[in-house]
Symmetry: C2
Subunit: 490 residues, 2 copies
């Protein structure tokens, strides 16, 4: 099969778009900026969801569901939130259509809403308006709730998974009696995202805090995990916000403390989205197609039979029956691709494109020798292995592949963090190599904005693990006590 | 605790509303007609989702995701669909808000959409517009796709779970090469719903076909399952539609058959929604609160310790540790309610309200005797049982409770199907007893509408299992070859 994918070297951006569509992950829909997530892409998202959902529940959270629509006036209640979110939103103004008599459907102007409704871009406002009814005393706290939902932020320039007008996500919204508890929660959920990203996506990330300029609208502190893509651009893979008492004050949510005092509630929110699909694809894939870490691959092992006669096929089938059952018993998902409409070479190319981590091929000679051919997607290597003990061998190999994909991404990331000590050097590295640039910054929004204007690089985060270090800002020469990470970003 | 629930005898409708709210299942939101599904209610919905999702996958379906918005013009494309859905819909007309300078958020009139977008009331149109790009040849068929999503149908009179402007559901949309295959699919999914309803919800249902008048807008045939609530009203619990080639024609979706001919594709769609929560609640619950079938109960067993001293508590704790671990090993969800802020009687009432199927209580005397007290929610009976072998006993008892809840509902349903042979009798039974009324009908929309106007009863379905039988229509006296089921319905 011809894959029709542009190479990364030729045009990284086009490579991504080609890959997402050719590998049947997603496509654009008839609605501007909205995507269709196709079954193969959705199967990966479902694995992400199931994993994260378990991690949320293991840390004490429950799921709930809040309305899609938010009254317009709610957006005026939290000052910073107004600036951040009350811009590119889908606005519902009417609630009825009618037939114009000529078979055309038109909007019924008599059915105008008294107050416009906004399709949620995020749910802090409607949720805190709801929490008001749930919280009276410290006994009602903490509230540890998560929601899986669709959200809409009207985007002018869209890219599949990375920036779409509608996307899928989870948003956790928690309420606490104390500041300490809320900060701990925000940090705990950052750790959950960190673990998920490294152990499941196989994407190494840097944990950090956003600068004031890049903070979530309404947050006192935004924690984030930042990943690096193969083109040297950064991608924010998840955020966890300490919201202080901002939303409690905006929606008048108070509780009676153990000491009998009436106090405002402390809040966090945290989320990851279908954007993670973009991170997964861009971190690992190559010019031949997707490279999926085994833990998130919808199909972990594909078996392709090579045969000329029915007798040969019957022999192979008998082996595959047993082998597949053994894999399934180990919770390994396996597909036996015995279509008679396609040749083996076509199948090899197709499963390579779709990123199946391990391919097992076997023909008459293999059956005679008691062997199979294994082909790893990550290293593009092949080996001949005995059929005896194969399922154990495969299980171990999948673990090894998961680890190798992570290590490869980690090596790339680590060789793409460059310390610089002057603005000249900063611009040179940014242009020639990209990646994260670790530099001193004077801590002002003004400097951050100037650097962004001149270079398109933003401060991705102030890393949590970064030690204090005396230095001077590369842009202004003013004193600085800590390096921050700059990068161009998705 | 005071439960504050109206009794069913006093006001069935108020009982339902009280129960949904007091049991922490759902509540109304600040947005007219939209509900908040609270964690306890959502936990039940998640169990329904997980069960159905597995059943869909076991029958060969995959999940995908399609846009929330549908261009207005799509609704004009399928004639019957226009009439059915292009009425009470949320309409998005603008894509931006702005600050008016006084801190108020207003709609930016400069950001008007060229074509209004409709928030999906159902997704046939956008999905068939997408399938057009996926289907060329018979090799691309069948397409067996399901979507879990939120949908919006603007409702003037709402009731939690039963009728809300936004609700959650799944919608399956399949494409087939032949009429036979599509009909088989529609029937297969009706069977899935039937099995789910009986074996999981413990709600017996009647499988049938809708009359032309009650069919889904755009369907050639609508199959349904109809349940009976305790007040004698019917509730449609799921539908599966054979759509013929209507949507393929509306969206020009053709395929090349094995014989090389260009033909329109055949379609089905099928769905169940959060309405099932309403069915579950109304079918089984009583004046004391929820009664949940064990298979869908978020907490299947609650353990309440009764103690005066720390020594007593320590003894009980040690037993509960082992017992809980045994239950968990059997996949039984258990909660140990050892709050020291509430007395046992309060806890008993709370878990009764929340419908936990089985309560285990134990105190110092039980520990001395090696016994516990078991209280069944469904029968309101108690027994003293030995601690030895308790987890096996409990596992069996949960199965028995599931079966008993179903049998009770089945008995109620079966004693509420009344055959009548005259319109007088029809009206008498409808008034005095309610339930399903099995009667002859002349097969015309006209008669069906007249009966509805006069009695509020509709034809719920033409049962699949109903034998042919010569008779005369109770309303017009015209000949009829089969009885149909009438009822007042939710």
């Amino acid at each position: 099969m011809s894959k029709g994918i542009t190479s990364r070297a030729d045009d990284y951006s086009q490579w991504y778009t080609d890959l997402v569509q050719k590998a049947d992950l997603a496509e654009y829909s008839a609605v501007r900026g909205c995507m269709v997530i196709k079954p193969y892409g959705y199967a990966i998202w479902e694995k992400m969801q199931a994993t994260l959902d378990k991690m949320f529940k293991d840390t004490g959270h429950s799921n709930a569901y809040f309305p899609l629509f938010i009254p317009k006036s709610f957006f005026s209640k939290e000052a910073a939130h107004v600036e951040g979110f009350a811009t590119e939103c889908a606005v519902v103004t009417h609630y009825r259509l009618k037939n114009d008599g000529n078979g055309n459907i038109i909007v019924d102007e008599d059915a105008k809403l008294e107050e416009e409704l906004i399709v949620r871009p995020t749910s802090e406002t409607i949720i805190w308006n709801t929490y008001k009814g749930w919280i009276e005393s410290y006994r009602d706290l903490p509230i540890l709730v998560n929601q899986w939902a669709n959200v809409v932020r009207w985007e002018m320039r869209t890219r599949l998974f990375l920036r779409t007008s509608e996307f899928l996500w989870q948003e956790g919204h928690t309420a606490h009696a104390t500041e300490t508890e809320a900060v701990e929660e925000a940090e705990r959920m950052l750790e959950v995202y960190n673990t998920f990203s490294q152990d499941w996506l196989a994407v190494p990330v840097i944990r950090g805090r956003k600068t004031e300029n890049e903070r979530f609208a309404g947050a006192l502190d935004t924690y984030c995990i930042e990943a690096l893509m193969q083109d040297g651009k950064a991608l924010q893979a998840g955020t966890s916000h300490f919201l202080g008492q901002n939303f409690a004050k905006a929606f008048d949510v108070k509780f009676t403390s153990k000491e009998g005092k009436l106090e405002h509630v402390w809040a966090t929110s945290w989320g990851v989205s279908t954007r993670l699909m973009g991170a997964l694809i861009m971190a690992h894939s190559d010019d031949q197609g997707l490279v999926l870490p085994p833990k998130l691959a919808p199909i972990q092992v594909v078996i392709v039979p090579i045969f000329k006669t029915d007798e040969e096929k019957a022999l192979i089938d008998a082996f595959v029956d047993t082998f597949s059952a053994e894999l399934k018993a180990k919770n390994i998902s396996v597909k036996f691709d015995d279509r008679d409409t396609q040749r083996p070479g076509y199948k090899f190319a197709e499963w390579e494109l779709k990123g199946v981590p391990l391919r097992v091929a076997l023909g008459a000679r293999d059956m005679a020798n008691g062997t199979v051919e294994l082909a790893r997607r990550d290293t593009q290597t092949k080996e001949t292995v005995a059929q005896a003990g194969l399922s154990d061998y495969v299980a171990n190999l999948l673990d090894e592949i998961q680890e190798n994909i992570f290590q490869k991404a980690l090596n790339f990331r680590d060789t793409h963090i460059t310390e610089v000590n002057s603005y000249e050097e900063f611009k040179e590295v940014l242009e020639a190599k990209g990646g994260f640039i670790s530099a001193h910054w004077d801590g002002t929004v003004e400097t951050e904005k100037r650097v962004k204007e001149e270079t398109k690089a933003t401060i991705r985060c102030i890393p949590l693990d970064q030690p204090e270090e005396e230095g001077i800002c590369i842009f202004t020469g003013k004193p600085s006590s800590k390096r921050v990470l700059f990068a161009k970003a998705y």
